[in-house]
Every structure is written in structure tokens, then in C-alpha cells.
């Protein structure tokens, strides 16, 4: 950190993109990606992730805003002159070329000589563990193999930024785990900037150095996975990263360093971390399931609630138990050995520490949303 001026790999400022006059795909998006980072954009389908990636790659125009790649303004720079590569969500493997020519495509377009291309394609195939597939037609490949070809094809041109649009979600679960490992290894090996989009939180939390949570055209929060997980800025971000219990409430008082929040199911306390005065504000009281304690363990907690066990989901090492009081449901991640003793439809005491709870002021960075509607749905 000795004052070396860092060149940002990507800088996006106030990016706006309309589809026609009706659909606002990107609504003044701004973010920066450091060189060499693994940056993950997470959001539900239709939130504008793919649009953003295509704009970065230059295959889609934007309406206003600025885009810099390595401090260079990308306005009017065509895609083939940008120092990046994009692996599309559909892989877009050329059906009329065999695996070798698919991977060689970029190098051929760059005018590299034949020997060089041969060597590079071989290396790329080794990297994605597809050696020996050179002469196969893409039509003979499985989805996972096609994706590997697409990845090799993107990597072989040695971009300094690699964009990966939903590269993991469309394969089966076991392969997803393997791919996540592969991406991490390849990223480390090459040392280039990766930007990956996904709609699955475990990918984002596992892979990202930094991540952005997107929601219908806006970025809800940018930060390390840890930051976003521990201090979500909006209800949307909190929900999209990890599981969370949310209940709307109003801050009624501040006692020493804790706020008292009045909710439909009782008054709960939470620590005040920063100096803001939240008294009188309507907000969301939030707690992650793993911090909820059940039965005897709950007795020592500051916040307690009696709820009926209405459902449970077995996850192997823990059981997600859902306790209900009124219309409020609280999920708790209960260790398997303790969960065995619980019975359905019985009332249990559940509790949590004030320090584990969070107060989330905004439902979303999108203005004009009602916090209760966001939490309970309309």
C-alpha cells in the first residue's frame, strides 16, 4: 500500500440502459473493480446482470454514463478492440466449428501464426481438462463440456478482464462445486480480473473477493462477502445473501447502547453500532437463523419468544426449524443432535443475543418501497 496508484480494471459511472421506452434495465449503476479481483455480481434473474456484462464487453450500447477499462474510456470502442473476454450465459459455442477451431477463433482473428495457435489451444484445453477433444463437434459435447470449451475460448486470447455470465448455474450440483473450485484455481493461476454473475448466493459468497448485489437495475450493496453478510445495507441485500429472519418494527427508545424495537410479536433489543439516532424510525429487525437458540439454550438470551415448531428441513449437519408466532415465522438452524428432541406442533422458547441482531433501515435502494410490504409480500 505504499502509495502505488492502482489502476482500476473496470470503472462504471452512472450507467443507464433502457430497452425501448418501457424497460429500465440499468438505473444509474456505479462500481469499480480492482485489477486481479474476483468480482461477483449477484441478483435474481432479470435484474440486469447479463445486460451489464454485455455492455462491459461492448456488444450492447448504453444510454448514458461512463465506462472505463484500465482507465481508458470505452465510449465508441468496438468489442474486438477491448482488452477483455466474455463467456456468454448460453456459451454460444460456434456450431459449425470443431472444438479446436472454436478455441482458436480469437487467436485467428488476432492474426497469430499457426504454430502459436496450436500451442495455445493445446494449453487451453489442458487448463480446462479437455485434451483430446480437438476434433469433436460441439454438437457431440455435453453441457458441461461445451462450457469448458467456451471458457477455454475466452481464456486463450489472454484478456486482462474475463467476464463470466452465469457460468455455474446451468449444470448439476456436483459439477457446480467442481466448477467453483476450477474458477478459483484458474483465477489464481492467471492473476487476471474475473467478473462473474450468478443468481445463487453460495457461488457469490464462495468465489468473490468483492461482490455487488443487484436488484432490478440497481446495485443494492457492494462489499466483501463478509461485509455484505454481516452488515447488509438493505432488506433486499440481506435476503439475497444468506438466510435471514426479518420482522418489521419501530424503534421506540434507546437505552445506553441498545435500541428497543417494537414489533408485532414483542419488543426486542439490538446494539447500536454507529452514532445515528434511529428512535422513532420504522425499520426491519433482522437475525440470521444460525444465531437463534432453542429451548434451554434460549433461557440466557436477552431476546426471547415463544413459538410453535411448524416445519423443519433436514440439511445433514443442521436442521432448519421454523417456529411460528402469529404471522411471524422464525427460522433457526438447529444442530442435528438437538433437533432430534424437538416435536412438531409443540411450543418452544427461542432466543437470541442483541449483538447478533441487525437493524436494516431501508428495504432497498429503490425509493418508495414500504418495508412491511417488502418483508411480508403484498
Amino acid at each position: 500500500m505504499g502509495g502505488i496508484p492502482l489502476v482500476k480494471a473496470i470503472v462504471v459511472k452512472n450507467m443507464v440502459k433502457w430497452y425501448g421506452k418501457e424497460v429500465l434495465a440499468l438505473n444509474k449503476i456505479s462500481f469499480e473493480v480492482d485489477e486481479g479481483d474476483f468480482f461477483v455480481v449477484i441478483g435474481p434473474s432479470g435484474c440486469g446482470k447479463s445486460t451489464l456484462m454485455k455492455i462491459l464487453a461492448g456488444i450492447l450500447d448504453y444510454d448514458s454514463g461512463e465506462l472505463y477499462i484500465k482507465s481508458q474510456n470505452m465510449k465508441d470502442v468496438p468489442p474486438h478492440k477491448r482488452d477483455l473476454s466474455l463467456m456468454l450465459e448460453t456459451y454460444a459455442v460456434f456450431p459449425h466449428m470443431n472444438v479446436f477451431y472454436n478455441i482458436a477463433f480469437g487467436l485467428r482473428m488476432m492474426g497469430k501464426d499457426k504454430e502459436y495457435i496450436k500451442r495455445k489451444v493445446k494449453e487451453a484445453l489442458e487448463l480446462v481438462e479437455m485434451s483430446g477433444f480437438e476434433n469433436r463437434s460441439p454438437l457431440e459435447l455435453s453441457g458441461g463440456q461445451r462450457q469448458r470449451v467456451a471458457l477455454a475460448r475466452s481464456l486463450v486470447i489472454e484478456p486482462s478482464v474475463l467476464l463470466l455470465d452465469e457460468p455455474i448455474s446451468h449444470v448439476d450440483y456436483m459439477l457446480q462445486r467442481k466448477l467453483m473450485e476450477d474458477f478459483k484455481i484458474i483465477h489464481k493461476k492467471l492473476g487476471i480480473t474475473f467478473i462473474l454473475t450468478t443468481h445463487m448466493q453460495e457461488h457469490a459468497l464462495t468465489l468473490a473477493d468483492r461482490m455487488a448485489v443487484m436488484n432490478t437495475g440497481v446495485i443494492e450493496q457492494i462489499g466483501t462477502p463478509d461485509e455484505v453478510y454481516r452488515t447488509p445495507k438493505t432488506v433486499f441485500a440481506a435476503r439475497f445473501v444468506g438466510d435471514i429472519n426479518l420482522v418489521p418494527g419501530e424503534v421506540v427508545s434507546k437505552e445506553e447502547k441498545r435500541y428497543i424495537v417494537k414489533t408485532d410479536v414483542g419488543e426486542f433489543s439490538s446494539l447500536s453500532l454507529n452514532g445515528d439516532d434511529l428512535v422513532g424510525k420504522k425499520l426491519a429487525y433482522a437475525i440470521r437463523p444460525e444465531f437463534i437458540k432453542v429451548d434451554n439454550d434460549a433461557k440466557a438470551c436477552e431476546n426471547k419468544l415463544k413459538g410453535k415448531l411448524v416445519r423443519y428441513y433436514f440439511f445433514g449437519n443442521y436442521v432448519e426449524c421454523v417456529f411460528a408466532k402469529g404471522k411471524v415465522e422464525v427460522k433457526a438452524a438447529v444442530p442435528a443432535e438437538q433437533a432430534i428432541k424437538l416435536r412438531l406442533d409443540k411450543e418452544y422458547l427461542i432466543g437470541w443475543l442483541s449483538g447478533d441482531s441487525m437493524l436494516i433501515e431501508k428495504p432497498s435502494v429503490i425509493e418508495g418501497l414500504n418495508i412491511e410490504e417488502v418483508i411480508y409480500g403484498k
Binding site: 456488444i59 468496438p78 454460444a92 460456434f94 456450431p95 475466452s154 486470447i157
Partner: protein, 284 residues
């Protein structure tokens, strides 16, 4: 049992093929090798190869062959040069689906008009005192009217109007089936616009192009009316065949028909061989 019923489904098609394709072709083939046919009783006399010998030793044969296949191929080329950019524009630069359908159906209009009317309608356009010649003369570009109507130029203009649709449609279909993401992927993979066009768009549209060439080739080869009327004495195989049939010389006409079909098939075979789609696409 299920197996037999499966084959049963072929039966209607098979009957049609046998009665309307195989038997007539066999008859033509047979008559081509006969000495004479009495058309009244339909009796075929003799077995000889003289008809073929006569054709291949005739002095004008080479000329006729070149005329026939040369004009057909040239018509293909003209339709392709006009049709491809049009199909390309329609696919990639017209976003309104309704407009696309409208434009494509406009191409069919010539087929809705009777052949003779459609043909005569060209006189006021291409004739000596037609629109084109009058315009060129009044602009001072030419002094005497160009012989547009009864010439090869006229033939190709009329063929273009009639058959460009056969080139246009398959190419349009092939182009519109190209996944836009393939084009986007090529752009990201460093391909400048002209190479995106050649490597991705053109190559993926080749099946449509070849289809179009075959359609136009076969149609113009079989069309003897248009060249007979407009091409100003251009001798083609089709015209010879119709002339000999008209003079009731069936054996020679049938021999010519056989020759034409064989050469057309060979030409198609060569066309598909030269343009080995797989080779052209995989290795460049």
C-alpha cells in the same frame, strides 16, 4: 406387426413416386433409345443409341450446352448477388416482424400474376420506347435505345424478377436462424465486423445459399418459355426439346431430355462437391 404398419405409411408416397416419377422417367429413357414412336398407338420401335450419337456429333451442341447451363448459372449468380444483401438487410436491420413478413410476401406477387401478363408487362419498361430507354436517352446517357427486351439482358432481368424469391427465402431462413449470441461471441473474440460476417454469418447461412442456388438453377434450367420468348434466338436445350416434341420427333426429344437431366444432376453434384459445406465451414 407395428413394423409393417410403419411401412404402410410410405405407401401413398410410394405409389405417387412410381406412377408419376419412376414410370414416366423410364418411358422417356426408353424412348430416347428407340428409333421411332408411333404416337397414335403409343408403340415404341427399335433399340438404338443413334439419338445420342447425333446430339453429341452435331456442330451446335457445345454452343447449346454452354448456353443452357451458362445462363442458368449466371441467373443463379445474379439472384444471389441481389438476394443475399437483401435477405441480410431484412434479417439484421429490420426489427419490425410485421414489416418483414410484408416485404417477403411482396416477393411472391410475381407468382400471383399470370405468366403471359407478367411477361408482357415488361414491354413498357424494357422496350425500345420503354421507361428505361426513354429515361436514359432523355438524360443523354445513350443516343439509341438499348436492346434490353429481346436479349440476354432482358432474359436475366425477367428471371431475376421471377426467381429471386427462390434465392431469397432459403437465405433469409438460414440467416434468421443464426443465434445472435454467436455473433456477439465472435465480436468479443476479437473479430472485426468483416470477419464476423464471413466466419459466422456467411458460413452459417451457407446451407440456405446452396439451397437457393439449387432452386434457381433447377427452375431456370427447366424454363424454356422465357428464353424462347425474350432471349432473342438464344438456343438452349429446353427450347430444342420443346421444338422436337412439337415436330413429333419423340425419340430425339427424349434423348435430349435425358441428357439435360443427367447433366443437371452432375452439375448439382459438382456444385455440392465444390462447395463442400463441412470443409468450407470447418477449415478456413
Amino acid at each position: 406387426m407395428a413394423k409393417y404398419t410403419n411401412y404402410l405409411m410410405l405407401l401413398p408416397g410410394l405409389i405417387l413416386c412410381v406412377f408419376f416419377l419412376i414410370i414416366p422417367t423410364a418411358i422417356i429413357l426408353r424412348i430416347g433409345f428407340s428409333e421411332s414412336v408411333s404416337t397414335a398407338e403409343f408403340e415404341i420401335h427399335g433399340l438404338t443409341i443413334e439419338n445420342y450419337v447425333k446430339f453429341f456429333t452435331a456442330p451446335q451442341t457445345l454452343n447449346i450446352l454452354v448456353n443452357t447451363f451458362g445462363t442458368a448459372l449466371l441467373a443463379c449468380l445474379i439472384c444471389f448477388i441481389v438476394g443475399y444483401p437483401f435477405a441480410y438487410f431484412l434479417t439484421f436491420h429490420v426489427e419490425n416482424e410485421k414489416l418483414k413478413a410484408y416485404v417477403l410476401s411482396l416477393l411472391m406477387v410475381p407468382f400471383l400474376i399470370d405468366w403471359s401478363i407478367r411477361t408482357i408487362a415488361w414491354i413498357p419498361v424494357l422496350g425500345d420506347k420503354g421507361i428505361v430507354n426513354s429515361a436514359l436517352i432523355s438524360l443523354g446517357i445513350i443516343e439509341n435505345p438499348l436492346n434490353l427486351l429481346f436479349s440476354r439482358t432482358g432474359l436475366h432481368i425477367i428471371w431475376l424478377q421471377t426467381y429471386v424469391l427462390f434465392m431469397e427465402f432459403p437465405i433469409y431462413l438460414a440467416l434468421s436462424r443464426i443465434d445472435p449470441e454467436l455473433i456477439q461471441a465472435a465480436k468479443v473474440l476479437k473479430a472485426p465486423p468483416h470477419r464476423v460476417f464471413y466466419e459466422i454469418i456467411f458460413k452459417l447461412s451457407l446451407p440456405g445459399v446452396i439451397c437457393g442456388w439449387i432452386f434457381v438453377f433447377v427452375s431456370t434450367l427447366g424454363d424454356y418459355l422465357t428464353p424462347g420468348l425474350w432471349a432473342g434466338g438464344l438456343q438452349t436445350l429446353g427450347l430444342s426439346i420443346s421444338a422436337y416434341f412439337g415436330k413429333n420427333v419423340w425419340p430425339y426429344a427424349c434423348a435430349l431430355s435425358t441428357i439435360m437431366v443427367v447433366i443437371a444432376l452432375v452439375a448439382l453434384y459438382i456444385l455440392l462437391k465444390i462447395v463442400d459445406i463441412k470443409k468450407l465451414i470447418y477449415e478456413s
